[in-house]
Symmetry: C4
Subunit: 265 residues, 4 copies
Amino acid sequence: MAKGKRTSALRKTSAKAGTRPGAALAALIDDLVIGNRILYDQNIVDGYGHISARDPRDQAHFLMSRARAPGLVTGADIMVFGLDGEPIKDDGRPVYSERFIHSEIYKARSDVHSVVHSHSPTVIPFSVTQVPLKPIRAPFFYPEVPVFEIRDAGGWTNLLVSDSALGAALAQTLGQNSVALLRGHGNVVVGPTVRVTVYRAIYTEANARLLLEAKMLGGPITYLAPEEAALMEANLAKPRPGHGHDRTWEMWKAEALARAGKGRR
Amino acid sequence: MAKGKRTSALRKTSAKAGTRPGAALAALIDDLVIGNRILYDQNIVDGYGHISARDPRDQAHFLMSRARAPGLVTGADIMVFGLDGEPIKDDGRPVYSERFIHSEIYKARSDVHSVVHSHSPTVIPFSVTQVPLKPIRAPFFYPEVPVFEIRDAGGWTNLLVSDSALGAALAQTLGQNSVALLRGHGNVVVGPTVRVTVYRAIYTEANARLLLEAKMLGGPITYLAPEEAALMEANLAKPRPGHGHDRTWEMWKAEALARAGKGRR
Amino acid sequence: MAKGKRTSALRKTSAKAGTRPGAALAALIDDLVIGNRILYDQNIVDGYGHISARDPRDQAHFLMSRARAPGLVTGADIMVFGLDGEPIKDDGRPVYSERFIHSEIYKARSDVHSVVHSHSPTVIPFSVTQVPLKPIRAPFFYPEVPVFEIRDAGGWTNLLVSDSALGAALAQTLGQNSVALLRGHGNVVVGPTVRVTVYRAIYTEANARLLLEAKMLGGPITYLAPEEAALMEANLAKPRPGHGHDRTWEMWKAEALARAGKGRR
Amino acid sequence: MAKGKRTSALRKTSAKAGTRPGAALAALIDDLVIGNRILYDQNIVDGYGHISARDPRDQAHFLMSRARAPGLVTGADIMVFGLDGEPIKDDGRPVYSERFIHSEIYKARSDVHSVVHSHSPTVIPFSVTQVPLKPIRAPFFYPEVPVFEIRDAGGWTNLLVSDSALGAALAQTLGQNSVALLRGHGNVVVGPTVRVTVYRAIYTEANARLLLEAKMLGGPITYLAPEEAALMEANLAKPRPGHGHDRTWEMWKAEALARAGKGRR
């Protein structure tokens, strides 16, 4: 009951985000808010990191929270941004300095409808070594997981993707892949929906941990074959209630709401 | 008091699962429900993974939840399946796509009365390297822990054991052992009762962690000898209140119920 | 206030343990109960493992819980044992099968007033490799941390120290040291008081983790020198309120009571 | 609401710490109290470790808790110390034996306004090996992270920096850096404010974990360049609400208060 109340409160506040939003938009904003909470609860993001979704009303817009710790985001924090990375309606609220990661990927990739940027911990060591992040259980690592070296794009920087040029260079490195690493900084994960992208962000971290431990055991590693990955992706894409992404989304959502305001896992 | 109430609620709902179940069946269903909760609470299963028990009324049937995250399973979710992997009474509820792991093992192994399939994290690295998962503290690793390579059985697949043929191939790899690894996927653990099988699933993960760390230290490792393992198994099998499996089951159960609805450990 | 109530409840039940106990005995039983809870809360013991204290009324007796998961022990569970490992007053309650670890160490070491036996996880890898557990921060590792190979004492066993002969062999391996490892099984830690022994058990695990990680970094390691260890031990032994063992005991006690009935850390 | 109440209670008690403190002093004491709680909640300090701040009323004074576990510190525990390491007004309360770490660093470094001493776990292995703690994400590791070998300063000691001479030797090793390691013991972190220093202590531990895992992967590592570190430091220093240190401080504070009295993360 407590959970039900909390959920409807989120929905209520989220109604303020757009003008007369249809049910589909309200549901998307709810997913975006829950996605923030899940990524925080699962230790994928901390005080930093963000998740966005392409606006279903206008493919040249996307939805993302104002600059705020993801564990605290509510529907009222969701703002609309253009593909230049700027808020459509600037109401003076602080915005994420790395919003250009999102805008430039939406510009380059019409198939992408959600983007997560995080500093999830076990992924970073792969960004600073020559060891490629290859798939053990993560089918979406194909074709590959490239590493974005910001020095090649911007020379000496503070490592933040804080303008359109850096965002475009990152989008170019990402190419047609689903995950790219940012050297010494974090990663970016993209997907067709908020739920799939949240799942991918969580499994990117999990696969990095599995690969680190397999490397510690030593010797040759049997990776997921591209043919297997393609069949896994096809299976996950089938809409079946109680299966695949739905089942984990419901579990992660329940966990995140149960721990809301009590600190992370 | 809160715990007592919660437990009796589980018993009440579980009464719906069969028609006029005897006390033994009700107790088994309670163990199955608690087993789900323990495996979730101990981070052996997450949104995926399942545990089943052979039906004491009919050796050709087994009991398992409908497709549901294990942390949420109640007695009302428990369904009866046949050795073809299909529900005896199909009421339209979604079922686990990998139920054939269970049906084929029950078909091949009359001594098995419970089966756990999980993706417990530290076991997976052993499934993709050439390093055998050998016993440091887990006596039930004898004779050995084989690895099931689904490519040998089904060519390119989505890695799921989603039909009887794949289940039968896995059961053949398992042989007379208690644990088998599924390459890049997870593991299956079997035993004579729900409680023993839950203990084995938890200690399979624990032993994998010990072996990984012993490998990191380097040099020769003294494994549990087969003679020692046999004596440990014999000792654990003695029914003594307050000892062995009973003591850990009571602790894990108390922990799982205390954290129910609050997210995992 | 809740905590105060809980503590006095423990004291009340502990009063039942002996006949007309003096204040010193009541305080010792309280420490023993709290020691059980702390070791559980700090993940040093799980469903298994035990802690005992020599009986201040009779040096040939010691106090220990009946066979029970340490996280659940109360004062009413504390029983009195003799140096033969048997209860002084057998009331039919189940007792730990490894009580001979305690009885034989108390017999061999008059300076020892508390004994902990645990399976704390990071210590076990050192028991099955040739890598000695040397001190980085644990001064009580001097003179050394020997490994007890039960095969040398009892041939093929179930690894449990379940009679006086095995207990005596372990006590001989321990010698004048404060910690001994049991191959493929766990460790035993001894000390002059319950509080010091609980601290040593926790820091034995912590030092094992530090040494494992230092080994992973590679190259030569600067260990604590015996001269430094002696000065640290002397400093810790000084009774000063708010310092040393007292400060950590109060913190661990507060944490254990705050999480009582809610599962471990 | 519960949180608001708790916070104002802290403020109320902190008012007792000085005589007629201005708002700035009250805010500093609040930060110091919250800093203690955050460092405990984030597992940087346990029962030991301490944080101090230079007194804004007198540069030759600094503020620090009486000897107490950091997770329990309130405003009433904050005392004023001189650069000789002794309390300005000795009221008999026990004080930290390693207060000379703070006094000697404030004496040597006029730019430092806050000091943290901790035993954060993953940093210690770097203090006992020849592997330098280099920056992957921690810009404040430049120029370098030196290791203080107390044997060079004091011969055989109990490893505690318990007098002015040892504190001065540590301050000399620290030099103009922001972090120094204490061999086999812990680390010291300094900064211009309490909030920046707490952030640095948390990211020192996080960077040590990243570097340990990168070393486990093997091969060459791309470290943060000094030019990049300088730009990151400049960016973090810009005061912008909702960004940088403010955003993480608010998150860590919320987490620490939510878990207050319930044990650490």
